[in-house]
């Protein structure tokens, strides 16, 4: 064995610490649930929750709802984030576009996403289209903002270099402005992802027709099925966690040139 394989520092059990609070919480939960009686409605035992999970998996109900929510979040991200990036680029590169678009963008941004629900419900009903619009909007705002800001902050000293080597508009954008703005654009994407997932669940709860984790939770609540609600919450939370993890990894990879000298 080489020294390297023996290196104990390589094993970092720090993440294990993060498991302590949930485990303690679950132990406390189960203890409370076992008391029964007056607490029976508020507390279902872990065994019941696992049973509900197994049933929902077997019936395909969970897969269907989860897939539907995830699909909605991703298409919303793609549509809202895509359009948002294009709008942000247009605003960042062209002063007239910035002047034309800024006021309306900044006032609409003040309306909370779910504040659009009544209007969009009136126009498009409470079906999938309305939900998609809300989710796409939640991805749109941060991507516009961070793409725009990122492009605005490209330093003149770097643009000078492009001028010295006679780069044309497209070359300047692609070789200098876009990569320089990328860290900011990633911050926007980060936020967009978090927002789309939250707004997906939110809009499903409020427009509870159709499939989705939010709709499932809503129905379970009406039937006082706390176990199902908990399974849904578990999946919502874990997915948000996974999304953040993925984005972090992706941005580390794409922005590796930023890494500080070790």
């Amino acid at each position: 064995m080489t020294l390297k394989t023996l290196n104990l520092n390589a094993f970092k059990p720090v993440w294990l610490l993060g498991l302590i609070p949930p485990v303690l919480f679950l132990l406390w939960w189960d203890h409370e649930a076992a008391k029964g009686g007056a607490n029976a409605l508020a507390f279902v035992s872990l065994a019941q929750v696992s049973q509900a999970l197994a049933d929902m998996l077997a019936s395909g109900e969970l897969g269907l709802s989860y897939g539907s929510s995830l699909g909605r979040a991703l298409s919303g991200l793609l549509i809202g984030g895509g359009i948002g990036t294009l709008v942000g680029i247009a605003m960042g590169l062209s002063k007239p576009v910035e002047w034309a678009a800024s006021p309306i963008y900044n006032s609409f941004r003040q309306v909370p996403i779910l504040g659009w629900l009544p209007l969009i419900g009136l126009w498009f009903g409470s079906g999938d289209l309305s939900k998609l619009i809300i989710v796409a909007l939640s991805a749109f705002y941060p991507t516009v903002l961070y793409t725009f800001e990122g492009l605005k902050q490209v330093e003149a000293r770097l643009l000078d270099v492009g001028q010295i080597y006679r780069l044309n508009g497209w070359q300047t954008f692609w070789r200098i402005q876009w990569p320089a703005a990328l860290p900011s654009i990633f911050t926007g994407l980060f936020q967009a992802l978090a927002f789309t997932w939250i707004s997906t669940i939110g809009v499903e709860l409020l427009f509870s027709s159709g499939a989705g984790l939010g709709a499932l939770m809503q129905q379970a609540q009406l039937q006082a099925r706390l176990d199902i609600v908990l399974v849904c919450i578990l999946f919502v939370g874990l997915t948000g966690f996974a999304i953040n993890f993925l984005i972090k990894r992706l941005s580390q990879h794409v922005l590796s040139w930023r890494s500080i000298r070790a």
């Binding site: 000293r157 000078d160 270099v161 001028q163 006679r166 990569p179 320089a180 040139w257 930023r258």
Partner: protein, 280 residues
């Protein structure tokens, strides 16, 4: 004056092109609703292949002057020509090395240097060869794939010099290229720059704070004063290249120039007096 033209200096690869002529340059900035005269009646003729050093106090308009020659700023009075052609906008014929290296942090060393060739109409493999040759020229072989944050300050500055040389500009403008480096690296890079200049023979106009550096490299040293920026003195350095740093001639000239620079006349420019007053 017994100035020896660069072409008679042994070892110098002579060139026919690269004559820079500045005539009556006036430049001002609008500062707090007032006009700040930065350059006034600045005239200078630089011969093809000549190495001219410019020294002067901070804020006397040296960087501004280089930006005008480079074509980054077109708002001035007077004329700037390269080989008789009036300068308009930037051109690959006029290279510029900034005081900070200004490499793009998201590109490898190779790509940073290759960027300079983006709009050159030559085949891809010819570009690759030019890049490789210039990386070798500044002694950075083996670092082709390194990102700027993986280079030392001196290496990054050498990369920036390679980037500006890759187009073989007729004139290379250097704005305190070694200003941010430690004394040892600076001496090393000065020697390298001299070697490159002797090999390539392009015209060089270098700004520096370091009088010793100006004298070691320059065929001519131009001394500027501030408020407004103008030439007060020109020193011919009649020594063959490569030079000996310990030369008593250089030391004598250095004392002369330092004396000139440390004698600070009262500012004659009312705006500047006003700004200075604001500071107090």
């Amino acid at each position: 004056m017994d100035y020896v033209p660069h072409s008679q200096i042994p070892g110098h690869k002579s060139r026919q092109t690269g004559a820079v002529s500045l005539k009556g340059i006036k430049k001002q900035f609008n500062f707090k609703d007032r006009e700040l005269k930065v350059l006034s009646e600045f005239s200078l003729d630089v011969q093809p292949g000549e190495f001219v050093s410019i020294v002067g106090p901070s804020g006397c308009g040296k960087s501004t002057l280089l930006r005008l020659i480079a074509g980054l700023d077109d708002t001035y009075d007077g004329t700037i020509t390269l080989d008789g052609q009036r300068v308009a906008g930037t051109s690959l014929e006029r290279g510029l090395v900034f005081q900070d290296h200004r490499l793009f942090p998201w590109m490898t060393l190779e790509d940073n240097i290759g960027l300079a060739l983006t709009n050159r109409n030559i085949p891809k493999d010819a570009k690759a060869k030019l890049v490789a040759d210039h990386i070798a020229l500044v002694g950075l072989k083996g670092f082709e794939k390194a990102f700027p944050h993986q280079l030392s300050g001196g290496m990054a500055q050498r990369a920036a010099i390679a980037r500006s040389l890759v187009n073989e500009p007729k004139v290379l403008l250097l704005d305190e290229p070694f200003g941010a480096l430690d004394a040892l690296t600076r001496v090393h890079l000065q020697t390298e720059l001299q070697r490159i200049w002797l090999a390539q023979g392009s015209t060089m106009i270098m700004i520096t704070h370091d009088v010793e550096e100006a004298l070691y490299l320059g065929d001519r040293v131009v001394v500027m004063q501030a408020n407004p920026g103008r030439i007060t003195h020109t020193v011919d350095v009649n020594l063959p290249h490569p030079r000996d740093r310990a030369s008593p001639v250089l030391h004598k000239l250095k004392d002369e120039i330092l004396a000139e620079l440390t004698h600070v006349p009262e500012p004659s420019n009312p705006v500047v007096r006003l700004i200075k007053g604001d500071d107090q």
